[in-house]
């Protein structure tokens, strides 16, 4: 009985506040706009039995999804989110890998400090870290002041309110998520393997490429998913750093809901986004499980 209580409280909580809300989103995505803003008309009247159910079901349709399919704005937003998420994941990997690698090569007594330096931004407000770039990237911002000061450019560059700024923002804010798993994977690496490779005549670089890099694959995969998945649905970064031309699906959903007040379309956008993310989410969980089994 006690065990039952222990299981049921968090279970019921998640059912009520995680699963049920999704079912509501799904239902509203299948409703018409006049019916979806409260009071909801397509209510399920179970007291009328099967007839009540069929009545309810007949009011649902795929109209919102047809709307999404027909309007090129949504297609472009999904594709552009996908592109931004993929490119920024690769960029984060290129920036993050050398940092993680450098951390494992650093003297042992430095490591706790380096670790702390990577974790500190992770605890610092995401919003503030995105905001910090506004003053740097703007037309009269510090980056332009610096570049013009040393004479690299004559005219200020337009970076803020473009996709470039969004890429910088994603790489910057998600960098710890990439560095930490790669560092964890590299730290487990047995150094005698590298010595063996070098003894057998490999150059440093070949030893890295043939031994270190494959051994850190799990960390790279985990880090990439941790960047890619949230980047796909990102709202804050395109809203603060991107421009009117930056199309990202998180922003579209937000505007559909708060500005256009079209709840069924916002819900349909959410359903499609979730469907797109299910594959990477499942792959990510598989990778995590594999890693956990490997550690045992």
């Amino acid at each position: 009985m006690r065990r039952f209580g222990l299981i049921s409280v968090p279970y019921l909580w998640l059912l009520a506040l995680f699963l049920v809300p999704f079912l509501i989103v799904l239902k509203i995505s299948l409703s018409d706009i006049e019916l979806a803003i409260p009071p909801y008309t397509p209510t399920l009247d179970l007291s009328r039995g099967w007839e009540g159910f069929t009545d309810w079901a007949s009011q649902l349709d795929l109209e919102n999804f047809w709307f999404l399919a027909e309007d090129s704005l949504y297609w472009k937003a999904y594709l552009s989110s996908l592109k931004i998420a993929i490119v920024s994941t690769i960029m984060t990997l290129i920036v993050g890998y050398p940092i993680a690698y450098g951390m494992t090569r650093a003297p042992d007594e430095w490591r706790p400090t380096l670790m702390m330096l990577v974790i500190l931004p992770f605890w610092t407000s995401f919003l503030i870290r995105v905001y910090a770039w506004k003053a740097i990237l703007s037309q009269e911002g510090l980056l332009n002041q610096l570049l013009m000061g040393i004479g690299v450019i004559g005219e200020p560059l337009t970076i803020l309110n473009t996709n470039t700024a969004v890429y910088i923002g994603i790489v910057y804010t998600y960098l710890p998520f990439m560095v930490l798993p790669i560092y964890a994977a590299l730290e487990r690496l047995d150094e005698s393997l590298l010595e063996a490779a070098e003894d057998l005549g490999c150059s440093r670089f070949t030893a890295f490429w043939l031994v270190t890099f494959p051994m850190s694959k799990q960390g790279i995969i985990a880090g990439s998913f941790l960047v890619f998945i949230p980047a796909m649905g990102e709202f804050v970064i395109p809203a603060l750093l991107g421009g009117s031309k930056t199309l990202m699906i998180g922003k579209v959903l937000w505007e559909e809901f708060f500005s256009n007040r079209d709840w069924p379309v916002a819900s349909a956008v959410a359903v499609i986004l979730l469907l797109l993310l299910i594959i990477p989410i499942v792959l990510f969980q598989r990778n995590e499980e594999k890693q956990r089994e490997a550690e045992r």
């Binding site: 299981i7 968090p10 998640l14 409260p38 940092i99 931004p121 003053a135 603060l240 809901f257 993310l277």
Partner: protein
């Protein structure tokens, strides 16, 4: 001792410069006397004064603290229960669904979580207020707590618990007197994580907050959406310093704890 090669030294320096320079610039410019955020006009602390006179910000800060304290506490209790269930629960009906629901919110885009919770609150006729934000924050942060706590529970020696049970304690006593003290560091870091996540959340709070329950991130977002504001720089500096002090203290404390343990072990030998 190993020496850093030039390549590693350069990549670490550049990497940490990239991570820290934007925040340092923010801090430096919060002490700027001028209204223009990108032009230095002498040292001044006037924006801090402005900030503390701004009642809208103070109200929002108070709301944020209330939400964060409540939701992180609920999330810690629920998350610890969930972790205990997953690690110790054995097989029960719907176990896969349960662990799926624990992991899914970790990777769920915030816009979807926020939208779905708002639609739920409207469907059941719950007015948006601080309570709805607390419910929303508890839901996603309990999952983080449960991940942190279960990673500690997995490595925990179960025979200690069994010994307590053999010696006649009830399961609850065994949990309180044996398990809880051992997993306490993980529970505390879970609480801290939940607290920070709640303090920081903009998207989910925007969906679930009512007009009178604006939180600090919502306030910051609406202030900076169109441009840079020196008051927000001052506010950011305060928030960054609190986090920095917290992280540095805990890492020093854990370092000292490790050193003490090593010393005790040596003395024992």
């Amino acid at each position: 001792m190993r020496r850093l090669s030039w390549f590693n030294a350069v990549s670490l320096t550049l990497g940490f410069a990239f991570l820290y320079i934007p925040m340092l610039i923010l801090i430096v410019y919060s002490f700027n006397g001028g209204k223009l955020v990108t032009v230095w006009a002498g040292f001044s602390t006037k924006w801090y004064g402005e900030l503390f006179r701004n009642e809208a910000f103070l109200d929002a800060a108070l709301n944020t603290l209330k939400v964060a304290l409540l939701s992180s506490t609920f999330a810690t209790v629920l998350g610890t229960m969930a972790a205990y269930t997953i690690v110790r629960g054995g097989r029960f009906f719907g176990r896969t669904l349960f662990s799926g629901m624990i992991y899914a919110p970790l990777v769920m885009p915030e816009v979807i979580t926020g939208l779905s919770l708002l639609l739920l609150f409207i469907a059941i006729g719950l007015d948006r207020s601080i309570i709805t934000i607390v419910l929303a924050h508890t839901t996603f942060s309990m999952c983080y707590v449960s991940v942190v706590v279960s990673s500690r529970l997995v490595t925990f020696d179960r025979s200690l618990e069994e010994a307590a049970l053999d010696l006649g304690s009830t399961p609850f006593e065994a949990f309180r007197l044996v398990t809880l003290p051992i997993i306490a560091p993980a529970v505390i870091s879970g609480w801290l994580l939940a607290f920070t996540l709640s303090l920081d959340d903009l998207v989910i709070a925007s969906f679930t907050a009512g007009p009178s329950s604006t939180t600090l991130p919502i306030k910051i977002f609406s202030a900076v959406r169109l441009g840079v504001s020196p008051e927000i720089n001052a506010l950011s500096t305060i928030l960054i310093s609190i986090v920095a002090v917290g992280v540095i203290t805990t890492s020093l404390m854990s370092k000292r704890a490790i050193m003490r343990r090593q010393k005790e072990e040596q003395e024992a030998i």
